[in-house]
């Protein structure tokens, strides 16, 4: 900076001739930026937190959200009919009512 600009072409040869170089004692490379430290740890993320993009797009998320709302049982847990997903249980003779 400073005298460098004075050599560049300009309408008026006196332009940029007044600029003095910056204060040499405050060289930018030696300045450390001011750092801020939190005074509490209330906003720390959980230690095992991983942030990633949701793979399902918004439409599918909405379908799931609405279906979860509808399928959420609204009465006592003893009446809950959620089947056991993992195993396929052998049943007895098939009911006639399915015809």
């Amino acid at each position: 900076m400073g005298s460098l600009l004075a050599d560049w072409p300009s309408y008026n040869p006196h332009n940029f001739s007044q600029i003095r170089p910056a204060d040499p004692s405050a060289q930018p490379s030696k300045l450390t930026p001011i750092t801020y430290h939190p005074t509490h740890n209330r906003t720390l993320p959980p230690p095992n937190q991983v942030i990633s993009t949701e793979t399902r797009h918004i439409l599918l998320r909405r379908f799931y959200q609405k279906s979860v709302e509808k399928l959420r049982p609204k009465r006592a847990a003893s009446d809950n009919l959620t089947p056991d997903h993992g195993s396929k249980q052998l049943r007895g003779a098939f009911a006639d009512g399915c015809n």
Binding site: I58, L59, L60, K74, R75, L90, F94, C98
Partner: protein, 507 residues
């Protein structure tokens, strides 16, 4: 706000010195299409009598089929070139030797796909852009009085053989094929097939099975799963090893069982009051047989694991296969084999999802054109028209049903040409529907730039140059726009007369 000139030279200069707002450089570059328009026409070009089907979305190929629908012919779009030694070249018209079909298109190859008893389904073409593969279909004639087969729905006609071919478009090599015998897949407008990334789903209407296939990088078509009677790969084994159950028993198909159990669980969980719950269940049991009689009518991918399937009852006793209303929609997770959601076609909830997230129903368009194909989700002019249509509809519920009836979405992609982009140009697209591009040949299609709405930018006249003599019936034209070049074809085809092809380009 800086004044932006419409002059081409000024725009080029501005592009050198001005940085567009973040994320809008593509939009700014697309504005150049207002200056480079296909306003020049070569009428009735002497060209081979083929059915020019479509430009591929990357603009590399023009796919066409022979008139007898047995051969595939692929052209490479190029551009004409000629030299002019005079001083004032602009005023000269094109020399006759430049006004030819092969000035613009180079034939790459001609491949025979169909044997003598088969024909290529002209409306069926899927492009796998990542590998430049094309998927085509051939079929034989319909069988009348097909024999009754176990598991088949007799009312649905049977086609002796439907074959899907995966072709490498670069050189015309047939990489793989998949045949369905004595089956029926709805090929018209690609209704029975859905495509997402490298997955293909083919709905066999006759056997009520969804065949999910994967397109490998090497060009193979491999079966991933079949959904219909069985949902998981080991279902068949499990049921067969427990023979005492199947004897005299009656099992619903896997997908039907999933659907019915979802509906039952929803009714059970939704209603807290036991009396009302019993009432709703009674209604469900009353309609139980209707649910059992459902057929899968159409489907699409929502993502790699989810399908949107439309169920309904077949309309019997008609020549064409149609479906009765009401129809129903289900979202099915292929991994967990569970139904996630179930709606009737009059559902307001489904309609509101359709209206807000239309783009996600069309998720198969992962190409670079996806943001620029105008729809009410990404374009204010299209949204404006959509709202007008909605407000002027006689009945909101009928309008909603009509909109939902377009689901599941066909994987036909509309043409991504910038000249059809509603944010750049205004044109009467009611006469020029975005999917079929069929237009009356006698009236030119006028394109007006959005930024200068009072000035006609260019027009495309597809009829004969001299106009049509009185008394002749109006003919309709098909248009094929190149995805990014100022090049378009207009094609008039009638059965007894030769095809008339015009080329519209920028001189």
């Amino acid at each position: 706000m800086m004044f932006r000139s419409n002059n081409l030279a000024a725009r080029v200069f501005e592009r050198q010195i001005l940085t567009p707002r973040p994320g809008t450089s593509v939009n700014l570059v697309r504005l150049f299409y207002e200056n480079l328009v296909p306003s020049c026409t070569i009428y009735d070009v002497d060209c081979p009598d083929h059915g020019f089907h479509k430009f591929t979305d990357d603009g590399q190929y023009l796919v066409s089929f022979s008139r007898n629908c047995q051969d595939l012919i692929v052209y490479r779009p190029t551009w004409f070139s000629f030299s002019c030694k005079e001083e004032d070249c602009d005023s000269h018209s094109l020399p006759e030797k430049a006004k030819r079909f092969d000035s613009f298109f180079t034939q790459l190859y001609c491949v025979s796909l169909a044997s003598s008893t088969e024909y290529i389904c002209r409306q069926f073409f899927l492009y796998v852009q990542s590998h430049q593969f094309g998927l085509f279909a051939t079929c034989t004639a319909r069988c009348i009085d097909a024999p009754t087969t176990e598991g088949a729905i007799d009312e649905i006609p049977s086609i002796e053989k439907i074959t899907f071919y995966l072709v490498r478009l670069e050189d015309g090599v047939i990489l793989d094929e998949k045949a369905f015998c004595n089956d029926f897949v709805s090929l018209a407008e690609i209704m029975g097939v859905s495509f997402y990334e490298d997955l293909l789903c083919i709905l066999s209407l006759r056997y009520q099975t969804l065949h999910v296939l994967q397109i490998l990088n090497s060009g193979g078509l491999v079966d991933v799963r079949n959904i219909g009677i069985f949902c998981r790969e080991d279902d068949e084994l499990f049921l067969n090893t427990h023979a005492q159950i199947t004897q005299g028993g009656y099992f619903l198909s896997g997908i039907k069982q999933r659907l019915l159990s979802f509906v039952f669980r929803r009714i059970w969980n939704e209603e807290a009051d036991p009396t009302l719950r019993v009432q709703h269940l009674k209604e469900f049991y009353f309609r139980f047989q209707d649910f059992v009689d459902f057929i899968m009518w159409k489907m699409q991918f929502l993502d790699r694991h989810h399908l949107l399937i439309r169920f309904g009852h077949m309309d019997k006793g008609v020549d064409r296969i149609t479906i009765q209303h009401p129809t129903f929609f289900a979202v099915y997770n292929m991994e967990t084999t569970e139904i996630v959601a179930f709606y009737e076609d009059s559902s307001e909830e489904l309609y509101s999802l359709f209206e807000q997230f239309w783009g996600d129903f069309h998720c198969s368009r992962n190409s670079l054109h996806a943001n620029f194909i105008s729809s009410h989700c990404n374009n204010i002019y299209a949204l404006d028209e959509y709202r007008c249509m909605k407000n002027s509809a006689n009945s909101t519920s009928q309008f909603m049903k009509m909109m939902i009836s377009s689901l599941p979405v066909n994987c036909q992609t509309p043409c991504p040409s910038p000249y059809l982009d509603l944010s750049l140009f205004q044109y009467n697209h009611k006469l020029f529907p975005i999917f079929h591009h069929v237009h009356s040949a006698e009236r030119p299609v006028e394109f007006t730039s959005r930024r200068q709405p009072n000035v006609l930018n260019f027009k495309i006249k597809s009829g004969p140059e001299a106009g049509v003599p009185d008394g002749r019936p109006e003919r309709s034209s098909l248009f094929r726009f190149h995805p990014y070049l100022p090049l378009a074809l207009s094609i008039q085809r009638t059965n007894m007369q030769p095809t008339v092809v015009n080329i519209h380009f920028r001189r």
